[in-house]
Symmetry: C2
Subunit: 380 residues, 2 copies
């Protein structure tokens, strides 16, 4: 498989996504194309501390490089931090060719993306995602954003990067929890589109992919392709892009009820997909969920599940700021690989599905269901 | 000439610009197309006070309308005011179909445009420009922006409105100074592209156009067409769009040296065009400037010209934050209607041209030059 994937958005914007062991070579090439002599690095403070060699190489790419440390953590997605970063950019006397390079996970990418889109009405933006979640999800699709007192990501722009360059070696240094966090989305791409992802991962311990560079790269590239294919056809998020929210109506509500950050986004999405799978069955499908459910132990560990009642969950879903209309909207499956959206007004059904999903996850982890790696029906 | 002008940007964004005596009918039609049931009006405080009938009609367009007063004046183009407006929008529980309608001049349009582009990653935006300057200039082209302590418009986005609807009757109520302010840009469109604008206005007292509705509408529409034609071919402001800056390298510097707001933008642009015309001659043209210069008395009145030395002017030009590279860039003319850009490093030439221009304006106004309405050579 090639290192580089060409992404075309609208008819006028196009950029490459590269997963590479030689990210500096690729970024330098892009800076040449952009004629960017001056660069500003917005670097997650943890990455800055843990990846000194990478940061030094990035800084050395230009004689006029400056570095802004983005404090690690969701609280950096604030108007205050955006203003700080914009002030920093403007203090460097930027021109329209000055490149802003975001080095970090979703927080850094969302914040720096918003700054890039708003300083001088747009600085060229390069994403260097350093988490698995960022490379397969937030760095693709052009969403930037910060949080507002009334909700997450309520302030932001649609703004496409000029390139995404993922430093493959960095992913192999992630902690278990950080590494697994990306697999919520990776498994999702398998569930909604490229079911080969599920087949390839079947029977494997997900953590062991850190030692299989080529396999990891291939899984990342397949995931990027699913997201990019959807985003290309629906840049401004009207309908098609909704399918990327498989498991997310549940996941966002779980995160909201438990308090953001208590459980990882990957864990929440994984639980959400178990629930969405059961909802799909309630709506008429009859699916074999084993390719997804077999990863319950590695995705969720053995800790007790968060105590979220059906009532709390539905209340959180109803208060979602980005909801349009009064019904709840879910992405569900006809089959694995064939998603559709469904408006549901019967909240009792949603509550029942969630309670069933909680029980099912508990059963799978304790080995009391046959579904764990033991197919009873052929995969669809 | 039709009321409506169709503007297509990129291949995906398209909107109409309408100059109409029946703006409410047109805006209501657009809200229907957008399926916008909820509307938020961002209204310049002066317009709110002086045009109660218009504001009432706008508010009555929706059962869920709310109004935010934008304090009149350039100081509203601030991060603070942007945050206030974003907070207000979010407090109204907007969804992606909630329309933000900007009612006012350039300040309101730039601020509300920036808010529209950044709330929920983009609310549909409708411009209702109430100044002549806004309808022929700032409402077209998708530039939004606020000021930063280090310079004007340094924070902002490119974001296209879904429609521009200009309420023609409002322009006839503008004060002399407000009305004339738009003619800096209108005469510029004549100078760089549609020389018929200059011919149509020749021999006329510009202020008297307030009583000639059809003629005023025609001049506005011709101006919009010039700007739209350029913007369509260069949405993100690379090179072609530069020609819209005819007179502006001088004008921005004049405004900076005299202190923003002391002289109107229209006056500064007019003086800048006199200077740019002389610079064109220095660079090899030999132009008859009478169609432009004949309006010196109405555009600049009889007050003493601002005391701006050549040194101050060049210093201000050099500190322009949006400048790329070390030379100064000017738009100049081969002929009227045929602009080009020129990089100039000889600052002595620029100083000399400015001193000559100052003297020339003084002479024209005092009647000591023959050029005022007395052609010595045929118009080019």
């Amino acid at each position: 498989m090639l290192d580089k994937q060409q992404i075309r958005l609208h008819n006028s914007e196009e950029y490459t996504i590269t997963v590479s062991d030689y990210p500096i070579t690729e970024i330098s090439r892009i800076l040449d194309v952009l004629q960017a002599k001056k660069i500003i690095l917005a670097v997650d403070s943890n990455v800055n501390d843990k990846q000194p060699a990478l940061i030094k190489e990035l800084t050395n790419m230009s004689e006029d490089a400056s570095l802004y440390r983005v404090p690690a953590g969701e609280s950096s997605k604030s108007i205050t931090e955006w203003k700080n970063l914009a002030d920093f950019c403007l203090s460097r006397n930027p021109d329209r060719k000055t490149a802003l390079i975001a080095v970090g996970g979703g927080v850094t990418g969302d914040l720096a993306g918003f700054a890039a889109s708003t300083v001088l009405r747009g600085l060229p933006l390069i994403h260097v995602p350093t988490t698995l979640l960022a490379v397969v999800d937030s760095s693709i699709g052009g969403k930037t954003g910060i949080n507002h007192e009334s909700g997450k990501n309520l302030v932001g722009t649609f703004y496409q990067p000029r390139a995404v360059v993922a430093p493959l070696s960095v992913f192999e240094t992630l902690s278990d929890r950080e590494f697994l966090c990306g697999f919520g989305e990776i498994l999702k791409y398998g569930a909604i589109a490229d079911t080969d992802i599920l087949t390839i991962l079947s029977g494997r311990n997900l953590l062991e992919l850190r030692g299989h560079t080529e396999l990891l790269k291939s899984i990342i590239q397949r995931s990027i392709k699913v997201k990019a294919d959807v985003v290309i056809r629906d840049t401004l998020e009207s309908n098609l892009r909704m399918i990327l929210n498989y498991g997310h109506t549940f996941a966002h509500a779980i995160e909201k009820v438990t308090g953001y950050g208590k459980i990882s986004h990957g864990e929440a999405v994984y639980m959400g997909m178990i629930a969405a799978g059961l909802l799909s069955d309630e709506l008429g499908a009859s699916l074999d969920h084993s390719l997804l459910e077999q990863h319950a132990a590695s995705m969720l560990g053995s800790e007790p599940l968060p105590s979220v009642s059906g009532d709390e969950l539905v209340d959180a879903m109803k208060s979602d700021k980005k909801k349009t209309g009064s019904t709840l909207r879910f992405v569900v499956l006809k089959q694995y690989g064939r998603p559709y959206t469904e408006e549901i007004s019967d909240t009792q059904l949603v509550k029942k599905v969630w309670e069933t999903a909680r029980q099912r996850i508990t059963d799978i982890r304790s080995g009391t269901t046959k579904n764990l790696n033991q197919r009873t029906t052929p995969a669809t």
